[in-house]
Symmetry: C2
Subunit: 187 residues, 2 copies
């Protein structure tokens, strides 16, 4: 298997659009025949880390588990799309260091807009005092300083985010050049 994998690491506030972009990117790459797996923070928490909470130590352990999974997959030729708040810069930098073939995407959205969207009701609960460790409310989010791409979901459509990510991943040498074999065009 000559295909080499990589990790596309989507970081951002809850409600910024990470999961939506991850699933759309997964669908696009699958259509192109690229082996791909989404590592969604919430799903992996439920499957692997039901005992963990949201303290800094627990978040770090959870994120380290995700890094471990991403490493196993990417070194076996899979594009591992990580969708994870990953609020701490140090953890993201450790992921970059350990994973090597790494593309960090800051899924950027203002806290006001995230609160307006609130797809899972987490902000509502946090703002009414039922969750005291919510990223963006009580817990910090450290904005990326080294991201290969900033995907501003208040400005860009999901389609544009996916296309921009594919472009960066290809430019990094982890996907074939884009547009050489356009699908859907008659030859």
């Amino acid at each position: 298997m000559s295909h080499q994998g990589c990790v596309v690491w989507l970081t951002g506030l809850p409600g910024s659009g990470k999961t939506t972009i991850a699933r759309a990117l997964e669908a696009e790459l699958r259509t192109e025949g690229v082996p791909v797996e989404v590592l969604d923070g919430d799903e992996i928490r439920a499957a692997l880390s039901p005992e963990l909470g949201f303290s800094p130590a627990d978040r770090e352990l959870h994120n380290r588990r995700v890094i471990f999974l991403a490493k196993l997959l990417s070194r076996n030729g899979v594009v591992a799309i990580v969708s994870l708040i990953s609020p701490y810069r140090a953890v993201r930098d450790a992921a970059r260091e350990e994973l090597g073939r790494f593309v960090e995407v800051w899924v950027k959205c203002s806290i006001e807009e995230c609160i307006r969207r609130d797809p899972k009701g987490h902000y509502r609960r946090a703002l009414s005092g039922q969750n005291a460790q919510m990223t963006g409310v009580q817990a910090p989010y450290e904005p990326p300083e080294r991201a290969e791409l900033v995907a501003d979901t208040e400005q860009w459509s999901v389609e544009r985010c996916v296309a921009e990510i594919c472009g960066v991943v290809a430019a990094s040498g982890y996907l074939p050049p884009r547009g050489l074999a356009p699908r859907g065009l008659a030859q």
Copy 2:
């Protein structure tokens, strides 16, 4: 990627030879160009589950994490070689159910011989009272009833174990037929 993965699940007492067989099988498959990954119970414990002990509940959670990893890898075309005591029949049966493409290998060795080998000193510590949850001493090991192969490491060499496993995996349709393209023979 047309290649389909599978899981080779090595179960047996501590000291029965699981890790040795796993590494030899990995080397053989890698030589053949098959994507392969060893999921070693001890290593995964250290990486993912440093907080877990050896109570029945902790063992089960650890084993479930290994199943999750094996699933991610095998559905992406990798032969995942699991090397795990996995003493409980119910957990192994759950793994078989969830993983689908599954070959259970009982790495069989008498407790007397395992105690004699004792590569990590676990038996010595358990027998001197420093470890009260040792499989085969205080904790149960439930012998497989559905294993696709019994590899008796008191009778078979490592080479023979690897060859027999490859045969069973191929016969299950998860590897190409053996011996059709012998390596090292002039054409």
